[in-house]
């Protein structure tokens, strides 16, 4: 070994970083989070750690949740509750469309670290992130969160439209009788999914549809749901429910051509799954 012996070095990067809070329980996490406000929530860290290192995120405080509990999947009758800190790998054995969606997020290593809460709260700013948003909308999931005004439990789409300064505790939903997931296939494991449609048949036979990559966050497709008896018509109707956009992965034009196809495929799959 020609190299000199290592000297004791102090890693200086991020020395001007945020105040770091590490709660040891959910109660403490809620207390420390308070009303939020310039607080970055560190779940798995797969999105935030590079942003903090590069300085594109400069929060005043970082709330690290790895010791706060908040992880785990519990079942009460036909209802599932999933803690915000549950790693995505732990969802891979659940029913479709969750399992099908999770198996297409990044790779095994990332899925072992990334969390449900992080995915739900991920922003579309530089890539179509948050693949589970459309899935949870289709499942009719409720999101329980805290922040200014206290605890709130609301449908996923309402949470997504108003999620600034909220700390997610868990999501819960009734197990569907069938589920399906249709998405734009990708050349490489780490390519983001440009567009995806989730379809769910609830235990009372209602069909619910959610889309990802079709708006500023996951969206419900009510017009397509109303036309769901005819799969092709539902696909065309879905265009009324979305706000398509250009990004580095797909143009709005391409999304417009693809969305009806994915809606039709998801409904076809749902029919086959029943």
């Amino acid at each position: 070994m020609g190299r000199p012996a290592p000297t004791q070095k102090r890693v200086e990067s991020m020395s001007n970083g945020p105040e770091v809070l590490t709660p040891r329980s959910a109660t403490e996490a809620i207390e420390l989070f308070g009303d939020g406000g310039d607080t970055a929530i560190v779940g798995g860290g797969t999105i935030l750690v590079p942003e903090l290192r590069l300085g594109s995120a400069r929060p005043a405080r970082a709330l690290m949740l790895h010791r706060a509990g908040l992880a785990g999947v519990s079942k009460d009758g036909g209802r599932l509750t999933i803690g915000a800190m549950t790693p995505l790998n732990a969802l891979a054995s659940l029913a479709d469309p969750i399992a099908a969606c999770v198996s297409h997020i990044a790779d095994l290593e990332i899925r072992g670290q990334a969390t449900l809460g992080g995915n739900l709260c991920a922003r579309n700013t530089d890539a179509p992130r948050g693949d589970l948003q459309g899935v949870l909308i289709a499942l009719g999931a409720s999101v329980r969160s805290v922040g200014a005004g206290g605890e709130r439990t609301e449908p996923t789409e309402e949470f997504l439209a108003n999620r600034d300064d909220r700390l997610v505790l868990d999501v819960s939903f009734d197990l569907p009788s069938a589920g399906a997931y249709a998405y734009l296939d990708r050349a490489h494991t780490h390519e983001y999914t440009a567009l995806a449609v989730s379809a769910v048949r609830t235990s009372d036979g209602t069909i619910r549809l959610g889309a990802n990559g079709a708006g500023p966050h996951g969206l419900r497709l009510p017009s397509a749901e109303a036309a769901a008896a005819n799969h092709a018509a539902a696909g065309a109707a879905a265009l009324a429910d979305v706000a398509l956009f250009d990004d580095a992965i797909a143009s709005a034009w391409y999304r417009e051509k693809t969305l009806p196809v994915l809606v039709r495929r998801a409904l076809d799959q749902l029919e086959d799954a029943a």
């Binding site: 970083g17 770091v20 095994l108 990332i110």
Partner: protein, 172 residues
């Protein structure tokens, strides 16, 4: 902050800001240089180490999240001067070209094999799908992991004599 992690069986005390990526603590403070800083965005796999036996991107993990954890890197795959079966397979099958991706591949493949992974190329490709080899030497990498999964033995004195000599040179 000051905290303890175990690196390749040795307890180490490190002094770093809590959100510093594990990768930077390993490389810059502890002089453990096998994990490479590639994309530093989770997209390439060159920084993969084992955290309590699970393969993880060290560029994405805040150091304080692994306080008390057992970290394994290529330096800990075999005693000094020796190679693990997987490393021997790597040499035998010429699975390293430039070698920059090798550390991450070795650690991910080590976890795959320790979890009972098979020699099936499709299964290996699924498990290691997030690792990028920019020399595109994927076939040799799959061959090497397959061979190690089967427990093949390798006579490196005849199959890759030049490489073996180079490695001995580094050891001495």
């Amino acid at each position: 902050m000051s905290l303890n992690i175990t690196v390749n069986g040795t307890s180490r005390t490190v002094n770093a800001e809590p959100l510093t990526p594990l990768l930077h603590v390993l490389r810059e403070e502890l002089d453990v240089l096998s994990p490479k800083a590639g994309c530093q965005n989770g997209g390439c796999g060159t920084c993969t180490v084992l955290v309590d036996g699970e393969p993880r991107r060290s560029c994405l993990i805040p150091i304080s999240a692994v306080e008390g954890a057992e970290i394994r890197t290529v330096e800990g795959l075999a005693p000094p001067g020796q190679l693990s079966t997987l490393q021997e397979a790597w040499i035998h099958h010429y699975a390293a070209q430039c070698g920059f991706c090798t550390s991450g591949f070795l650690m991910a493949a080590t976890a795959y094999l320790e979890n009972g992974g098979s020699d099936d190329h499709a299964e290996i490709a699924t498990a290691l799908g997030g690792h990028v080899c920019r020399c595109t030497g994927y076939v040799k990498i799959l061959d090497a992991i397959s061979a190690a999964a089967r427990g093949d033995s390798f006579d490196l004195t005849t199959t890759a004599a030049g490489l073996r000599t180079t490695i001995k040179g580094v050891d001495q």
